[in-house]
Structures are given as C-alpha cells and as structure tokens.
Symmetry: C2
Subunit: 388 residues, 2 copies
DNA sequence: CGAAATATGCTCCGAGCTTTACAAAGTCGG
DNA sequence: CCGACTTTGTAAAGCTCGGAGCATATTTCG
C-alpha cells in the first residue's frame, strides 16, 4: 500500500546524499583534508566539516591528527575512510581446492586460507571443508560472522538467479546443493553464488590484466573451457545466469579441445592425465614436433569459440586465463593470429596476470560491489559501525 | 582545471532534482493533480505546487483548468507534461527507401515521410534524397530544424563511435560518408548514427514484441542477416560498434543462408531475384516440396548463428524480425526446434510485431533517450521551451 | 620576531521543504 | 435552496541545511 518509489528528496535526504558523496571522495583518496574534500565534492568547507565529523561519530571515518606537515600553513586534520568498519569474504570452491579471502571495505586482503580438497569428494565432504576454511579464515583473523557484510562463493557451472547450480558442473554430486541455504546458517549478511569464469573476469578487471577496460571477454582455458563477460563495466549473467556458455555449441569444439593436449602422442606413461598438458607445453617449448601441433590444434579450437564471443560482443580486451594461462607465451600469438583471421575488429589479447587467484579475487570484488550497492544505492544507515 | 565531478548538492540543486522528479512523475501519468504528484514523489503538496507552477512558467508543463469533476470535493487543477515543447527525428536510410519519423517528447508520432530510393543510387543521390525527406517531414508538420532536439539515423553496416560506417555496407559507395558532418549543416542538436539491426532491436523493445524484456537478441532475417543486442535494458554497441556481427564467422553460414531461398529449384523465371524468397515462402505454405526444404535449410543456417548469440548472452527473448518475418508462421517453430537442440537454456522466440518500421522507431527511441539523458542526467535548464 | 599562508570554528543569511491553518470550490443530502 | 462535508489552493511559521564571511589558530618563511 505504501508508495515505495519515493523519488523526491527533502533536507535530511540531501544531507544523506552529501554524506555519501563525501564517503565516496574519501574512499578514492584515503587521507583527505577538509579543503580537499570540499574541492572534490563542490561543497563548501563548513558543510564538509560538519558532515565529516558526523561520519566520524557514526564510525564511517577516522581522523589522523596533524602530525608532521610538509607544507606551509596550519597543518590540516586528515580524515580517512574506516575500511575496517566491515569485512567481506570471497570464496573459490574449486575441484581441487577451496580458497577463502577476507578483505576490509577497501578491498585490502586481511587474511586468506587455502585447503586442498579431493577432486572426488562428494557434496557433504566439500561443504564440511568449506565450513572449515571459513572458520579458519575468520578465527585466524580474529573476526566473527557478524563482522562480515557480504559473502560471495564461486562454483563451477551455470548459476541461476536463486543461486542454484543448474545444468551441469564438474563438482561431483553438486547439482542439487542449495549453497545459499547452507551459508544462511552461518551468515546473516547477503550471500551470492556465482559462476567461477564470470568471477575470474571480474577479478581481472579489478586487479588483473584489464583494469583499463569496460568491455572484456575472459577466457578460462584449462581442463575445462569457459568464459566470463563484462559489458559496459558490469559483469553480465544473462537472463538465466548462463551467459558465456558458448562452449555448449557443437560447432565450437570447446568440450574436446583440451584432449588435443591430453592425448598428444609422445606423453610418457609416467605422467598423470592431469599433468599431461603441462608436459606438452614444456615439450612444445623444447621444439617437440607433436607437442607443437597439439598446442596449435588446441588454440585453433579455442579460437573458434573466442571468435564467436568477440564477434557477438566486440570487446576491447580478451583476457587469456585459466590453468593454461601459465603457458600463455606459447599460445597468445597463435590465438591472436586465429582471431585476426576470424573477427571483424580485432580486440587486444592479454594474458591473465592473476592466474588461479582471479576467481577468489573476483568473488571478493562482487562482495564489495554488493556492499557498495547497499551503501551508495540506498541510505547510509543500515549497518552502522559504532566502535573505534 | 575546473573540477567537473561536482557530486555534492546544494539547495538549488535539490530543487532541480525535485523538479526532475516531478517531470518524471508527470510523464508517467499525463494529467496529474498536485495531490497525486505529492503522493507519487513523496514531496509535500505545497512543495509540489511551487515546483509545478515553476515548470509551467518554464514551458515544461501546462495546466488543464478544472472542468467537469467526477469526485466529491473541490475539483483539482491538473498538470500535464508539455510533450510539444520539443520534437525528435528518427530516420531509416535503407537500401530501397528512406523513412523519417517525427515525434514529440512523449514519443507520439506527429508526422512521417517515406520516399523510395533506387537501390543503386550513389551516396550523393542518397544524401540529397535524405535531405528532401527531412525537409518534407519538417515543413509538412510545420516545424523548423530548431524545433528538433535530437536526430538519429539508421544505416546498414557497423558504425563506430564517431558515426562513421566502417568495414562494409550494402549501400553503394557509402563507406566514407561522414553523415554526422552532413547533418551538422542542417541541425545544431545532437545527431546519432547507428546500425539498423541495433535500432530495430530497440524499436521492438520500445513498442514491439519484447516490451517486457530487458535481455533481447533481435534477429534481422532478410536478404541480409544481422543482429541487435539489448542487455540489461540497454542497447549494446560493443567497444568498436561491431557487436552482434556473428554472421562474419565462417562457421556461421549467415552470409549465404538466404541463397537457400533465392536459388531454390522451381522458382519461375518471371520472378525477380528480390521476390524469389517471397515466392518460396508462399510455395512452402502450399506444400511445395523443394520450397519446404529450402526454408528448413535456411532456418537451420540461421539457427547456428542465433544459437551462438543465445549461448553467449542467455537472453530472455529472441525476436525474429527483418523482411522474412512476414513469413514467421513458417519459420518460428523450426527455429525453436533448432535452438532447443543447440542451446542450454531456451529463450522465448517471438515474431517481430513492427516489421520494417522497427528500424525507424528504434531510431526515434534513441533520439528520445538522448533527450532524456540530457534532461534527467544533468540539469533541466538546457533547451528551455518558453512559448505556450 | 613579524608576515604570509593555510586551517579551523563560529555566526549570519538565504533557500527550500514540511507542518499547520485557513479560505475556496465543489458535491451530497435533506 | 441550504448546510455539512470533502478536497483543493494558498499563506504563514518553523526547521534544517548549505554558503559566505570573519575572527582565530598554527605553521613556515624571510
């Protein structure tokens, strides 16, 4: 019955907006004087002063008393965003490992815990391991679940808007798992489940190979092949969460592409199937003939799907990531050549700089985005942080 | 040197924001009383009253004096957005025709002019015809170029951010044409050049088959084959304006797909190549064997590219448009079957409801968006409309 | 030590929104 | 036809907020 679309603003709301404006300015350039903030926001000095003091009493900012000054004139009090007011979690539930990252509101990583997991482990064992990793991460950092403002978990396979893993996933028995419900028993904050490729794309945009780009295609090249898309600066999930799954098209041989490497003639019997690809890359570097053709065939197959993504989206950058990106030196140029042949407008092709960490970092970033949306989207009141 | 990022807001700015809020509310439900606006915006009645009167004196709104009232109580003055304060143009420069639509700020079409053009006409002749269409449209509606607040022109081929047609285009000799510069001699308002497929997608979202969707793949199926993408409610151009050009991939046989229809065995010699497809569709409806297989082969080729788009973007709706959409009855179900086979999550498949007008309507919508952005994005001051 | 420069803190003013109150203009019922 | 009621239009009072200006504090430089 009550109108929700209250678009009009009164004076308190104006104050709120200006407070948000100050917080934003504070986060961009951490230790700021009132005069700097005044210049950056366009507000007058007295207004900024009042608001900044309010932010301090509410726990959003802290003051650095003058100390040693470098310029002439009375040294200014410096305010800084209290990044420690809250924390977020980013968790990568992979086939072989679980990695949890804990960061403050500035995205600075406070602690991380990585456990190895048996690739064959069922959902119960995996969930138990997940709980253990989260517990360890929190206790070792001296935090409790109530200190956490957002949690994002990366899983393999397409994730629908409710957080369910649909279609398929390489995690054994994972298909029906309701991770959201499981996390709700530990955390009362918002929890997001998302596909690992998509989060890796976000990670590379945040702190990796594509910080300057707003239109990115991330290629996950490994034993699995996948993609994550960032369009106009925002991670795109698609209507059903299945965006980027071009590998499902039969004309694109993504499913079988890694077999060029695994079934390469000449791989010694002593090398396990999981390590075969690494052996082939090394052999190719040493000039091994069969290995070179295997790599080229792999890249050729990868490029067809990549070209479909590029032609559809016309991105600025293609990031080559995933387990095979450690051998990007071998594949980047052939990939460029193939794309050049197949595409209309050639994007930049770059190798991942984060490697396997991109997934967990992307999860962290999505948690931060979630918090930002709650703060900047609505009011600044929700989770007040009173303590110093 | 001056700081552009003035995020803070003072009192005048608050008034401005509230004015915009009222304008928006006014546009949603045209004839509104002050009380209604007050309820919808959350502002108090006196505030709304003052703002509304200001909007009237500035020419943004007009008053409807009471008249016959139906309810009890004193009859209310009704305000309405003055859609006639400005006008926009949407123009479709096609191979065979040029169509110009003139609309007011509500998007209501005031006048339209369509001229046929020789498909072989060179750029000079085509530009001259364009000028003639625009002139006719304005003068017949009693407008001058200064009454126009935004112009969008649809052309074939990929358009870069500067409005140049790059790569290729079916319009003879069109490749180097600087349409933006040409329009600047007529109009001082912003002019946008955009690809016709993309605008058709926008048209279908605005007034066509996908008004309820935010994630749309529009298929242009005709003698040319193309696509336009709307992701999260916004038309996506790609970094270089070449988004949706999946037809350039050799594995996707979009370029040759229409030849299944044109080279269908059994087409009489008397039928011109341009009309061959229509003949095949009619024959297929009558049970003509070769025609049916030709249609099926065409749909099969079309579906591969469509599947690549769908798998990449996971849209809610696929709109089947273009010249062939008049025969959607024949192709919609086969297309669904093919997509069902190729895709992970099946989107809805709908036939275009606008037909060939979708392009010009989309151009119109983009012009309106341009105006909206100028109004709602910044201040309400720019093009004041003083006259009653 | 004084001048210059910069930052802080305070007061006053004006703008804008809300609340309250009241007059105006209709309808409805007798 | 008239009075009660309801809703709208309008004016006044009060509150909050940001801007401008000035006095004061603190540091550097000459």
């Amino acid at each position: 019955m009550t109108e929700v679309t209250t678009t009009g603003a009164d004076l308190p709301r104006l104050r709120e907006l200006n407070s948000l404006s100050i917080v934003r300015a504070l986060r961009d350039h951490p230790p700021s004087t009132v005069t700097e903030l005044s210049r950056r926001t366009g507000l007058s000095r007295p207004a900024v002063d009042v608001i900044a003091q309010g932010l301090v009493t509410d726990g959003w900012a802290s003051v650095l008393e003058p100390g040693a000054s470098s310029a002439v004139g009375r040294p200014a009090r410096r305010y800084q965003f209290r990044a420690g007011a809250g924390h977020v979690l980013g968790i990568d539930v992979g086939v072989h490992k679980i990695l949890a990252l804990l960061a403050d509101l500035d995205g600075a990583i406070v602690h991380s815990v990585r456990h190895a997991v048996d690739a064959q482990a069922g959902p119960e064992a995996r969930l138990a391991e997940l709980d253990e990793v989260v517990d360890a991460c929190l206790t070792e950092a001296g935090k409790t679940p109530t200190d956490i403002w957002a949690v994002t978990v990366a899983v393999t396979g397409a994730v629908d808007s409710a957080g369910r893993t649909t279609f398929f996933t390489p995690l054994p028995g994972w298909k029906g798992v309701d991770l959201t419900a499981h996390l709700a028993t530990h955390f009362s904050c918002p929890t997001v489940i998302e596909n690992d490729c998509k989060l890796a794309a976000l990670g590379e945009q945040w702190k990796g190979a594509a910080t300057d780009a707003d239109d990115i295609v991330y290629l996950l090249a490994g034993l699995r092949t996948g993609a994550g898309l960032i369009i106009d600066g925002v991670l795109r999930r698609g209507f059903g969460g299945a965006a980027g799954e071009i590998g499902a098209l039969k004309h694109v041989r993504w499913l079988d592409a890694p077999q060029h490497l695994q079934n390469c003639p000449g791989v010694p019997e002593t090398v396990s199937p999981d390590d075969a690809a690494a052996w082939v890359f090394n052999a190719a570097r040493d000039g091994h003939k069969a290995a070179r053709t295997a790599v080229n065939r792999y890249v050729k197959d990868l490029a067809v799907g990549a070209a479909a993504l590029v032609l559809t989206l016309d991105p600025q950058v293609v990031v080559f990531g995933g387990g095979f990106s450690r051998s990007a030196d071998l594949m980047l140029d052939p990939l460029r050549r193939e794309l050049e042949r197949l595409c209309l407008r050639m994007p930049e092709v770059r190798a991942s700089t984060l490697g396997a960490d991109s997934v967990a970092l992307g999860a962290l970033k999505l948690s931060l985005n979630e918090v930002d949306q709650r703060l900047f989207g609505g009011s600044l009141s929700a989770p007040v942080a009173p303590r110093r």
